[in-house]
C-alpha cells in the first residue's frame, strides 16, 4: 500500500522530478565512465610497458579525484532533494492529518528515494557503459591511433565503485529525509504553502557602499593575481587574490540586488513598462535570499571553466609539436657540466680547463674513460657491445656543447643595446652572467645530416645563432638582427643574420636555446686550452632491423647496461630511474631519451590531463546548472498563483513567458558572467605567463570551454525554461 502511494507520488510529481532524475543519471553515468577508463586498455595494441602505465596512471588520478567528485554530487543530490521535500510539505501534512504515523510517512519517503535511486543508478550505469564505449574512440584519437580490437568493455571495478558511492549518497539522503519529516510540526506542514516569503528590503545606500567595496576588492584581487603571475601557488599574492575573489564575489552578490533594484525602481521610465515591476521584484525577492547559492554557483562555475580551459591548454603545452621535439630515434647525453642547480644549464667559469680539473678530482675513472675514447660516446658504447651496437644503431652523431670562458651572453647583448640587454635580463635564470654556449659547425652538421637537413656553410669569421625555444625566440631575433661581432679566443666572429632552428636533442619541448654555432677552429682552440665538453649529446637513428621502436629502445638500454651496469658504481649523476638496468654516470651516458618513450609519455599526459579536465569541468558544470535549474523550477512552482493572477488581470501568455524567460536568464547568466570575468582574468594571466611563453595558442581551449558551457549550461537553461513554461501554462489552464 505504501509502496503504491510512493509510486503514485513519483508519477504524479514527475515534472518536479525530471531535472533531479536527469542529474542523478548524468552523475552516475559520468562517474562510471571516467572510473572505467583503465579498462579501455585492452582495446589498444599496447606493445610497451610505457603505454599500459599511462592507463594505470590516468586511472589512479581519476580515482583520486572521484572522492572529491562524489562529495560534489552528494551535496548536489542532497540540495535538490531538500528542495523537492520542501515543495511537498503540505502533502506530508495531509498524511499526518489523516492519522498516518511519522514512521509511515518516512517510509513513503524512503521508498520514493529508493525507487528514484535504483532507477537512476540502473539507467545511469547503462548510460555510463555506453558513454565509456564512446570514450574509447576519443582515447584513440588522443593517442593518434585507431582501435585495434574493438570490444564492449565492462569495468567491474568502476561498477562496484559507482554503486557503493551512490548507495552511500542515497543512504544519507534517506536519513536526511527521515529527519526532515520527523522534525516537522503538523501545523507548519499544512501551512507551508500559505506562508509568504518575507520581503526584506535592504537599504539601497548600504547596498551601494557594498557594491563599491565589492568592486574595489575584486579589482585589488585581479591586480594581485596579475602580479603573482599564477606561477607559484604558495605566493602570498595568490592567496590574497583567492580570498579577495571569494569575499568580493560574496559582497557583490549580496549588494547587487539591492543596488540594481533601487536603481531600476527609481528610473520610472524604465521601470513602469509592461511586466517589468513584476519581473524585477520577482528576481529581487530571490536574490535577497539566494545570494549565498548564487555565490557558490559562481565559484563552482569559475572552477569549472578555469580547470577545463587551463587543462586543455596544458595538454597542448605538453604535447604540442612533440614529434618535432624528438627528431632522433634517441638521444644519449653525458651531463658533464657542473652548475646544474638551476633549471637552465649555465656556466660562469673563466678558466677553460676548470671543469676538466674538477672532473679529474671527483670522478677520475670517468675522466680517464672519456679521454681513452677521445670523448666519443659512440666509441665507448660500441666497444662495450659491438654486436648490439651495429644491430641496433644505423647512424649516430655527437654534439659537444662548450661554454666560451669569459664571454657571457650579457657581454653580447650589451653590444646590441640596453633594450636588448633588458630583454635578456627579463628572460631570467641570470642568463646574462652565463658564458655563451657554443657547438662546432661540424658537430651541428653531423646531427643535421641524421635528420636530413642540409649542412650549414660557415665562413671562418662568422657564427650563427641556433634557437628554436619559444621563450627565447625574441632574444634570439635581437641577436641575429644585431650584426654585431665579438672576439672569441682570438677569433673575431660576426653574428650571421641567419637563424638555425635545429633541435639538438630529443626533448619534451623544442629546447635549443641561444646556442652559437662556431667554426671548428674555435672549439679546437678551446680544447687546446684543456677544456672538456659541458654536455655531450649522442643522437642516434635506429637501424631498419624489423624491430619496433619499443624493442629498439630496449636494445639500446641493453647496450648502455653492458657499458655501464648498475653494479659498476663510480660517479653517479643520479638522473636515471630506479627501474633502469644501467647506472647513470657522468660519462659516457647520464641520461637516455628516446623519441618513442617521449611520445608515449606525452600521449599519456594528454590523456590524463584531458580526462581530468573533462571530468572535473563536466561534473562541476552539471552540478551548478542542476542547482540553478532546481532552484528556478521550485521558484516557478511557488509563483504559480502570481502568474494565475497576472493572467486574470489580462496579461497575455506571451508577456508572462517573457517575464519567466528574463527571470531564468538573469539567474543563469548572472553567476556565469561574474565567473567568466574571474576566469578571464585567471586564464589571461596564465596565458601570458605560460601559454604564450611556450607558444601555445589559448584560443582553442577557451573555445572548447565555451562550447562545453554552452551545451551543458545552455541545455539546462533551456530545459528549465521549457519546464517552467509548461508548468505556468498548465496552471493557467487549470482554472
Amino acid at each position: 500500500m505504501l509502496l503504491k502511494l510512493a509510486w503514485r507520488n513519483i508519477r504524479h510529481s514527475v515534472r518536479d522530478y525530471t531535472i533531479y532524475f536527469l542529474t542523478l543519471l548524468f552523475g552516475v553515468a559520468v562517474f562510471y565512465a571516467f572510473n572505467s577508463i583503465g579498462g579501455q586498455e585492452v582495446m589498444f595494441d599496447l606493445e610497451a610497458e610505457a603505454d599500459a602505465h599511462q592507463f594505470a596512471m590516468t586511472q589512479q588520478f581519476l580515482g583520486m579525484f572521484s572522492g572529491l567528485i562524489a562529495c560534489v554530487l552528494g551535496f548536489l543530490i542532497l540540495y535538490s532533494n531538500g528542495f523537492l521535500i520542501r515543495r511537498r510539505k503540505r502533502e506530508f501534512g495531509t498524511y499526518m492529518l489523516l492519522g498516518m504515523p511519522n514512521a509511515q510517512v518516512s517510509a513513503i519517503m524512503l521508498m520514493e528515494t529508493v525507487i528514484i535511486g535504483l532507477a537512476s543508478l540502473a539507467l545511469g550505469l547503462v548510460a555510463g557503459f555506453l558513454l565509456s564505449q564512446a570514450m574509447a574512440f576519443f582515447t584513440a584519437s588522443l593517442f593518434g591511433t585507431t582501435i585495434m580490437n574493438y570490444q564492449f568493455v565492462f569495468s567491474p571495478d568502476a561498477f562496484v565503485h559507482t554503486i557503493i558511492c551512490f548507495a552511500v549518497i542515497y543512504v544519507v539522503v534517506a536519513l536526511f529525509n527521515t529527519i526532515m519529516v520527523n522534525r516537522q510540526k503538523l501545523i507548519d506542514l499544512l501551512h507551508a504553502n500559505g506562508k509568504n516569503q518575507k520581503v526584506s528590503v535592504r537599504n539601497p545606500w548600504a547596498c551601494l557602499v557594498g557594491f563599491i567595496v565589492a568592486i574595489a576588492i575584486l579589482a585589488y584581487s585581479y591586480e594581485q593575481l596579475i602580479e603573482s603571475g599564477l606561477v607559484m601557488m604558495d605566493d602570498v599574492r595568490f592567496q590574497r587574490a583567492t580570498i579577495g575573489m571569494l569575499v568580493g564575489t560574496f559582497i557583490l552578490f549580496w549588494s547587487l540586488a539591492g543596488f540594481v533594484i533601487a536603481l531600476i525602481t527609481r528610473t520610472k521610465s524604465i521601470y513602469l513598462r509592461g511586466l517589468t515591476p513584476f519581473t524585477v521584484r520577482q528576481i529581487a525577492s530571490r536574490v535577497n535570499t539566494a545570494f549565498v547559492s548564487l555565490w557558490a554557483v559562481c565559484v563552482m562555475l569559475f572552477f569549472s571553466i578555469t580547470v577545463f580551459s587551463v587543462g586543455m591548454g596544458l595538454v597542448d603545452v605538453f604535447t604540442n609539436g612533440i614529434e618535432d621535439a624528438n627528431p632522433y630515434s634517441a638521444t644519449l647525453s653525458a651531463e658533464v657540466y657542473q652548475d646544474d642547480a638551476l633549471a637552465t644549464i649555465r656556466d660562469t667559469e673563466t678558466d677553460a680547463s676548470a671543469r676538466a680539473e674538477a672532473m679529474k678530482a671527483e670522478a677520475p675513472e670517468r675522466y680517464e674513460n672519456a679521454v681513452a675514447h677521445d670523448w666519443s660516446m659512440a666509441a665507448a658504447l660500441e666497444e662495450a657491445d659491438p654486436v648490439g651496437w651495429t644491430d641496433t644503431i644505423a647512424n649516430a652523431a655527437q654534439i659537444d656543447l662548450y661554454f666560451l670562458p669569459g664571454t657571457t651572453y650579457g657581454d653580447l647583448f650589451q653590444k646590441i643595446g640596453t633594450e636588448a640587454a633588458q630583454r635578456l635580463e627579463e628572460l631570467g635564470d641570470s642568463l646574462s652572467d652565463s658564458n655563451v654556449g657554443i657547438v662546432s659547425v661540424s658537430d651541428m652538421n653531423a646531427s643535421r645530416a641524421l635528420i636530413g637537413e642540409a649542412p650549414i656553410q660557415l665562413v671562418d669569421d662568422e657564427c650563427m645563432v641556433a634557437n628554436n625555444m619559444e621563450i627565447s625566440k625574441d632574444v634570439a631575433a635581437d641577436l641575429t638582427a644585431s650584426g654585431i661581432s665579438f672576439s672569441a679566443l682570438g677569433h673575431e666572429l660576426a653574428v650571421s643574420p641567419e637563424l638555425i632552428t635545429t633541435q639538438l636533442e630529443d626533448n619534451a619541448i623544442l629546447a635549443t636555446a641561444l646556442t652559437l654555432v662556431v667554426p671548428d677552429g674555435v672549439v679546437e682552440d678551446l680544447q687546446g686550452m684543456g677544456a672538456i665538453p659541458a654536455r655531450s649529446l649522442l643522437n642516434v637513428m635506429y637501424a631498419d632491423n624489423g624491430l619496433s621502436p619499443a624493442q629498439n629502445d630496449e636494445a639500446l638500454a641493453q647496450i648502455v647496461a653492458t657499458a655501464q651496469p648498475r653494479s659498476l658504481g663510480g660517479f653517479e649523476k643520479g638522473t636515471s630511474g630506479s627501474s633502469d638496468t644501467w647506472a647513470s654516470l657522468l660519462w659516457p651516458v647520464t641520461r637516455v631519451i628516446t623519441a618513442y618513450g617521449m611520445i608515449a609519455q606525452s600521449n599519456g599526459l594528454k590523456m590524463l590531463i584531458t580526462y581530468l579536465a573533462l571530468y572535473i569541468g563536466l561534473v562541476l558544470l552539471i552540478s551548478t546548472a542542476a542547482v540553478l535549474a532546481v532552484q528556478q523550477l521550485s521558484n516557478t512552482a511557488d509563483s504559480l498563483p502570481r502568474y494565475r493572477m497576472l493572467s486574470r488581470i489580462g496579461c497575455s501568455p506571451k508577456m508572462i513567458n517573457r517575464s519567466l524567460l528574463i527571470q531564468i536568464l538573469v539567474y543563469f547568466l548572472l553567476p556565469l558572467a561574474v565567473a567568466s570575468c574571474h576566469a578571464a582574468c585567471a586564464i589571461g594571466v596564465l596565458s601570458k605567463e605560460l601559454f604564450t611563453a611556450l607558444g601555445v595558442p589559448v584560443t582553442g581551449p577557451i573555445g572548447m570551454a565555451a562550447a562545453l558551457v554552452a551545451v551543458i549550461y545552455g541545455g539546462y537553461l533551456l530545459v528549465t525554461y521549457l519546464t517552467s513554461r509548461n508548468a505556468v501554462a498548465g496552471a493557467l489552464k487549470a482554472r
Binding site: I649, S652, K654
Partner: protein
C-alpha cells in the same frame, strides 16, 4: 422554461432608461460533466447591465453565480449562448484576444485580494496600467489620483503583508478601476473582511459607481453587501430566479426587500451586518 423567470429581453433597454448596455448575457448555458452525469451550472441565463449600473448577483452556494462571473470574466467559457460586452461577443474571441479583452475592458476584485505579495501597493496598482503599455510618465499620476480617491494614498509604499485586509481590498479596487475598464467584476469582495472593513469597502465601491461612473457587477451571498447596489439578480440552480431594483428605496429598505427574497428563496440566510 427559462423565460418565465428571466427578464424579458426586449424590456431590458427600456427599463434602464435607454442607457447603452455595458454587458448583455443571452441564454448563457454552462454544462459540466460527461454523458452519464450532466450538471447544468448555468441553464440559460439572460440579463443586461447598463453602463453606470451597480448590479449584485446573489444566490445560494452551488447556484451558479460564480460560474456566471467566471464566464463573464472570460476565465471560463459558456457551453452555449452569448455574452456581449460593449457590443462585442466575447464568447467567440480567441485566447490571445481574451487576454487583451480582460486587460483593456475588465477590472477585477477578488475575495482573497489577489495582490502580488512581491510588489508594493503602488506597483500593484500600476501593473494594471503598465501591462496596457500606458506611458510611464502618466502611470504615477494616475495611480496616485486613484489611491487618493480610494483612501489608500498613505499605504502606497507598503507591501501586501504590511497592510490590513481592508487596505488590501481597497488597493485591489484601485487596481481594478485605474485602467478605466468598461466593467468591474467583484467576486465576494467582502468575504474575507471584518464587518467594519467590509462597510468601508462597500462605500468605496458605491463611490466608484456614483462619482467615477464605474459599472460594477458584484457576486455576493451577503445581503448587506447586496443592499449597496442598484439592482440585485437572484440565481438558483443555474437560472435567473428573480430580480429586484432599488429604485427610490433607501439602503435599509432595499436591504429588507433583499432579505425577503432570500428568505423566500429558502437559501441560506446570510449574516447581517
Amino acid at each position: 422554461m427559462a423565460e418565465a423567470y428571466a427578464t424579458p429581453l426586449h424590456a431590458a433597454g427600456a427599463a434602464n432608461g435607454g442607457r447603452p448596455l455595458a454587458l448583455s448575457v443571452r441564454q448563457a448555458k454552462k454544462v459540466y460533466g460527461s454523458r452519464d452525469s450532466v450538471t447544468h451550472a448555468l441553464d440559460g441565463v439572460s440579463f443586461d447591465v447598463a453602463q453606470g449600473e451597480f448590479v449584485g448577483v446573489m444566490g445560494p452556494s452551488g447556484s451558479g453565480k460564480t460560474t456566471l462571473l467566471n464566464c463573464v470574466s472570460t476565465i471560463d467559457k459558456v457551453t452555449s449562448g452569448q455574452i456581449i460586452v460593449d457590443g462585442k461577443d466575447i464568447t467567440t474571441l480567441s485566447k490571445r484576444a481574451l487576454a487583451k479583452f480582460r486587460r483593456d475592458e475588465l477590472g477585477f476584485i477578488f475575495q482573497d485580494f489577489n495582490l502580488l505579495d512581491t510588489l508594493n501597493a503602488m506597483e500593484n496598482i500600476a501593473l494594471a496600467l503598465t501591462i496596457k503599455h500606458v506611458a510611464p510618465s502618466q502611470v504615477t499620476t494616475r495611480v496616485q489620483n486613484i489611491a487618493a480617491a480610494l483612501g489608500v494614498a498613505e499605504v502606497l509604499k507598503r507591501y501586501p503583508n504590511q497592510m490590513s485586509g481592508g487596505q488590501k481590498q481597497r488597493v485591489a479596487a484601485a487596481r481594478a478601476i485605474v485602467g478605466d475598464p468598461k466593467l468591474i467584476l467583484a467576486d465576494e469582495p467582502t468575504g474575507a473582511l471584518d464587518s467594519r472593513s467590509a462597510a468601508v469597502l462597500l462605500e468605496t465601491l458605491e463611490m466608484m459607481n456614483q462619482k467615477m461612473g464605474a459599472t460594477i457587477m458584484m457576486v455576493t451571498h451577503d445581503s448587506y453587501a447586496a443592499s449597496f447596489t442598484n439592482r440585485v439578480l437572484f440565481i438558483k440552480d443555474g437560472r435567473l430566479f428573480n430580480e429586484i431594483r432599488r429604485g427610490a428605496l433607501s439602503r435599509e429598505e432595499f436591504f429588507a426587500r433583499i432579505m425577503e427574497v432570500v428568505a423566500f428563496l429558502g437559501g441560506e440566510v446570510s449574516h447581517v451586518a
